[in-house]
């Protein structure tokens, strides 16, 4: 600390930092990116291991025999579903009751803020059916959940079949210590949201649901099953939940352990773990897997029905059956045995899953990167902002000394509060408009333009977004001419604002924070009014949050090996925007308000600096 206390040495340090500011920033940026890319390199990562003692040492014996019968039940379910044209509530209630469960139903209804064109729904009405297997000699304090969605069309019938088959098998076992809730939810996430809100008696999204009649205490863990074929080649584990939350890593470990034991191919992000880390293709495979996870997590949306559980501190994951053209197939009995094993292990839990990591990235199902390893990558990027802020601070405080040396008493024109405050306020007002207007003005837009409601919302959002860039010289509205000091103060404020914003975001959702930092930090670092206007403006637009999303969409499709054309990509981009707004309205996803109310205004501040006069 002598370094800072000693004025001379402090001066020297600051001098060096200001002199070498640009090169240090460059180095930091490249180091950050390199660190991040290194995370997928296998020698740098840790192998997953089971931390939870209660699930580790004792292997259970799986005996689920009735896969074929479960599939038959699934077919029966499909027939009834077709007949009723929706959820066959009565049939499900009867079937579950016949299996000795306590069966309850929950009705719910939700009017979406605007029609969801992807899933073709607007006024949603549905019923969840769930049966509780009461554990013998247990006081209803803990529960596990197994859910399967009742999807439209021919999807997920096998999942419901296996769910019912497992219910029947589980019912005749004596060893359960936790109640097991078998839930068939209608309208996928909306039904799940209604059920979870009903279970916890909260209402965060203004949905109408009938109160639940039966409960099983605090839910310890949940699995959601999605299965649309009689045989599967592999099972895919989906972890990413609402707002980038992840379940405890032990849940993934548990899945992997049982896949290994039973001999089922298992994937995450649809990618098999590979052993050839030392080859380029092996490394790029790991990078792709990790990037997919980063992109999914950054999207802040639940990637399966499990995603909504995480808010309630319930560890949950989705297991999706994949039926590709590989020769080796796994039948329903094996899938049932896998689930049985997982539930028996979860049943052994004495405490909630808490031993392993909650913050991690997975370059493959067998490898993980913990928060301690990935945070430096973000830290290096955030450091750039702090260095720039320090530089600006020094610049702002140095002019007075220079004037005294000249012997001329020139009081530097301190920037008016108004010239700083005006851009801040106006950019935030634009953000508020971006947040509120699209949904509010959809009727108006539909009346005047030949578009549907959904298109109206998305196009309004894009219009406001682009319209916001017109407010580039707001500082002159009230304060007149901007000064040299003025933009520096504004930039100092903006840089610190961005640092705090990204720092907080990265703590909650690393992927989102990192992707935003990757694009916004260079922009924040180099923007001054003195750089070439046109070129910089183009760069700024390219690096703006909106276009970042567009690139992310293309990149995601590329990673998923389903590349899209420009036209398709644009359509996808529009639907992603509408989904983002819907996710916020339906499930409380925070990406849309974060982007509209904070990130976009922050970007507008830099836009203002670029056009400072």
């Amino acid at each position: 600390m002598g370094l800072l206390s000693d004025p001379n040495r402090r001066r020297a340090l600051i001098g060096m930092l200001t002199r070498l500011n640009a090169p240090i920033c460059m180095i930091c940026y490249m180091a950050g990116v390199a660190w991040f890319m290194g995370l997928a390199f296998e020698p740098f990562t840790l192998r997953t291991y089971m931390s939870e003692n209660a699930m580790g040492s004792t292997m259970v014996e799986e005996r689920f025999p009735a896969g074929e019968r479960a599939l038959a039940t699934g077919r029966e379910f499909a027939a009834h579903k077709k007949k009723t044209g929706g959820m066959p509530v009565d049939w499900l209630v009867r079937t579950m009751q016949a299996r000795g469960l306590e069966v309850y139903t929950q009705r719910f209804s939700r009017k979406l803020p605007f029609p969801d064109e992807d899933k073709e729904r607007y006024m949603v009405k549905g019923t969840n059916v769930y049966g509780i297997l009461r554990a013998p000699r247990a006081p209803r304090t803990e529960a596990l959940v197994l859910s399967a969605p009742c999807s439209p069309g021919n999807e997920n019938n096998q999942a419901v079949g296996i769910l019912l088959g497992l219910a029947q098998y589980f019912r005749s076992q004596i060893y359960w210590a936790k109640d097991i809730i078998f839930l068939v939810n209608e309208h996928d996430l909306i039904g799940m949201q209604a059920w979870l809100e009903g279970y916890h008696h909260t209402n965060t999204t203004g949905m109408d649901w009938s109160p639940l009649q039966g409960r099983g205490g605090s839910i310890q863990a949940a699995l959601s099953l999605e299965l649309s074929s009689d045989v599967v080649t592999s099972l895919d584990l989906v972890l990413e939940g609402l707002n980038g939350q992840l379940p405890n890593l032990d849940l993934a470990n548990l899945f992997y352990a049982f896949c290994q034991k039973i001999g089922v191919l298992c994937t995450t992000q649809g990618k098999l773990p590979r052993n050839d880390w030392d080859t380029t293709s092996g490394y790029s495979h790991a990078v792709q897997t990790m990037m997919l996870m980063v992109l999914k997590q950054a999207s802040s949306r639940p990637w399966g029905d499990h995603g909504l559980f995480l808010r309630y501190h319930i560890e949950a994951a989705s297991i999706k059956g994949v039926n590709s053209f590989r020769p080796y197939k796994t039948d329903a009995t094996t899938v049932g045995r896998l689930l049985e094993g997982m539930y028996r292990k979860l049943n052994n839990l004495l405490e909630r899953l808490h031993q392993s990591y909650f913050f991690y990235l997975m370059p493959s199902l067998t490898r993980f990167v913990s928060i301690g390893y990935y945070m430096p990558a973000f830290g290096l990027l955030a450091l750039i902002l702090l260095l720039r802020a320090l530089d600006l601070w020094v610049q702002l405080s140095s002019p007075p000394t220079r004037t005294t040396e000249d012997g001329v008493e020139v009081v530097p024109a301190s920037p008016g509060v108004l010239s700083i405050l005006t851009p801040l306020v106006i950019s935030h007002l634009t953000g508020v408009a971006l947040y509120t207007l699209p949904v509010l003005s959809q009727e108006l837009a539909v009346e005047h333009f030949p578009v549907s409601e959904t298109e109206a919302v998305v196009l309004t959002a894009i219009a406001i977004y682009t319209g916001g860039t017109r407010s580039h010289d707001t500082h002159r509205l009230l304060a007149g001419e901007g000064t040299e000091q003025g933009w520096k103060v504004l930039k100092l404020v903006a840089v610190l604002y961005l640092a705090v914003l990204l720092g907080c975001t990265a703590l909650i959702n690393f992927s989102l924070g990192f992707i935003l930092a990757l694009t916004l930090v260079p922009l924040a670092a180099f923007i001054t009014p003195h750089v070439p206007k046109t070129l910089s403006a183009v760069v700024m637009v390219i690096l703006s949050p909106g276009l970042t999303l567009l690139f992310a969409v293309f990149f995601f499709q590329e990673l998923q090996e389903t590349p899209v054309t420009l036209q398709e990509g644009w359509m996808l981009y529009l639907s992603v925007i509408s989904q983002g707004i819907l996710d916020h309205a339906l499930y409380g996803s925070l990406l849309y308000p974060l982007a509209a109310l904070l990130v976009y205004p922050c970007w507008l501040l830099f836009w203002n600096i670029l056009f400072w006069k």
């Binding site: 306590e102 013998p136 000699r137 209803r140 019912r171 039966g214 909630r352 808490h354």
Partner: protein, 791 residues
Amino acid sequence: MAARRCLGLWFFLITLCVVSTGADVLHTTPVTGTESSAAGTETVVARELPEAPSDPGEHTAAEPTREGEQNDRTRGGEQTLGQPTREEEQEQEKTREGEQTPAQPTREEEEEEEEQEQTRGEEEFTREEEEEELTREEEELTTEEEELTREEEEQTREEEELTTEEEELTTEEEELTREEEEQTREEEEEQQTTAQQEEQTKRWEATELEEEHVHDAAVPPLAGDPPAADPPSPPPSKDDFQEELVIRPLHSGDIYASFQFRTVWDADFMGDQKVSHYRLFPKSLGQVITKFSVRELHISFTQGYWRTMQWGQPYLPSPPGAELWVWFQDTVTDVDGTWKELTNVLSGIFCASLNFIDSTNTVQPSASFKPLGIGNVTDHSFLRYATLPREIVCTENLTPWKKLLPCGSKAGLSVLLKSEKLFHSTFHSQAVHVRPVCQDPQCRTTSMELRQTLNVVFDLHTSGQGKREWSLFKMFSRTLTEACPLASSSKVYVDVTDNPQGEQFELSPATPLLTQAVVLGDRRTYSVYDLTQQASFGSSRSLNMLLRWKNSHNNVVPPVMLRPLLHSERYVAGYGLQAGEIHTLIYNHHPYRAFPVLLLSAVPWYLRLYIHTLTVSSKGKDNRPSYIHYQPSKDRERPHLLEMLLQLPPNSVTEVTVEFERALLKWTEYTPDPNHGFYVGSSVISALVPSVVAMDTNSTLDRPLFSSFFPCKEEASYFMRVYTEPLLVNLPTPDFSMPYNVICLTCTVVAVGYGSLYNLLTRTFQVDEPSPGLAKRIANVIRRFRGVPLL
């Protein structure tokens, strides 16, 4: 004494009834009046009976619970299982005061008339015929002994019973008051069982008569009694032991077995003489009672939660985990200290963690728990109540419990109590209740009653393998071969209410003995096996009852959810680790009657209840509790206690919500498994529930019109206690797995970050003159002396 009791009674009346709505007061008060008069008459009648005083074991007629039960709830073999209620106590109090109005027609008389009316058609004709027939059969049997088949054995048993019954028939009507069983209709029906016997008689059991001569030591055993049932010669202070098992096939296909073992001892534990000679009464408990001046002790260990929606009401409710409540004698000065010692001693006796009961989980309910035995205590400072919802019950608790039985697990019904089967069940609950009861109708002296109960529910799907067929062997992997030789009565009851003509299931070996009882407001019929009769065991010398359902599609038909009149659920609402809300839902499924309930919830201090957020609403409207007793918690000292008297509107759900905040504990206060969560014990709902029998206003079909205009008061309501689920609440928990990392990180942050910042902010920087050297200083001193300017 009477005056004090009266005071207590009215205090109680005020808390329970008067504070509720006006209509209810109007309704309730006449009920008690009538009932008291009825009870009074009973007592008078009982006094006239010559046998009454000499029958201490079974017929403590003036014992309050008995009396209350006599009035209404549990007529028949089940009387020992009924819960005495406050109302009963009130009635009994009144009876003692002699407030009865003899002019009013009593309940018994009405009922008598009813029964007579009902059965007159048959009875008048059949009785004589039967007697003739029986004598005929007897003759046949004596002559043709070699042809005795199994059914005929049964017949003989019946005959024996019948003869005793005949003898007593004349006094029967008078004696009806002494036991509820006697109140049950005693009718003999003709039953056609097999082709061999043209007509075999199926009778209503005259339980009291048999029991009387079986186990009353003062009266010489009657000729028909097997010698095995004779108790050994009576000791100076009389004690008596009874055992019974009730088997109830449940709606869901599961089966419920309830054991009761009752030891009554005419010893005054609180008297001057020290009780030192123990016979049937367990010495370990007796000493505890004496040492800690315990008036009443109720302790239960339960593993599992009673599923009211599927199983209906239990005979004896208990919360998951351990529950202990004790009334101390008013001579105890340091109640808390005694309580602490008592819990530690009981912890040793029952091998349970009762020593974890301390002031943080002990409460003193003001209204919910009243003494069940005789007693005029109203000062709840002598009451302590505690639950341990986390307590796991297993064999180590069962063994000491079985050791308290006179026969241990060697003989009698207790041979069935094998832990490998008892813990292969859905619900297991064992309890010990000690309370003082009256010895005689005048209640001049008291006896100590020890009642050990064990309830177990076997699951259809896990134990029954989905097949609806139950037998004693299948349930307990044992059969019955003998009664406990020390027991004065040993019976097995099977609930056959839903099976009057054997259309639902088949019970084998068939027993001709039937008894009726009003249990939990519902009139139930039971088949009775008397183990003191050798004939019960048949030729195979072992009794293995078999319940076989007839229609095989029973497995296919899913069991429907019941709608019990009163049930409740409780849960924690909200998410996150800061705040939350406890919701308690109380359902009243009665179509038209409102009734009051007392809700008690004790919440640990680490959930800080915000009592201003307490809301009670029914049918969307605010429901003001007429009585609230709230004791706020003190951190680390005592829990919250909230007691409320609520009126439940008919056919409604009443929701009680209160918000709480989760406290951050000190790091040593966390349990070894903090992420499991912390338990909040069950809430207790005590209620007087309108009975199903009283609801049945259209039962004029089998009753004479003149008897059924006014709803029968005694059965108008019955006492019930419902326990809600315990709650598991997560508290904010530090990550204990990495204390080293945390300490290092925290220290580094404090030292580097905070230290340097503090340093920079508070220090003033000055350019320091280098201090002069030693030589210079000496030179300066010299210069100062010389008056020369300093260097």
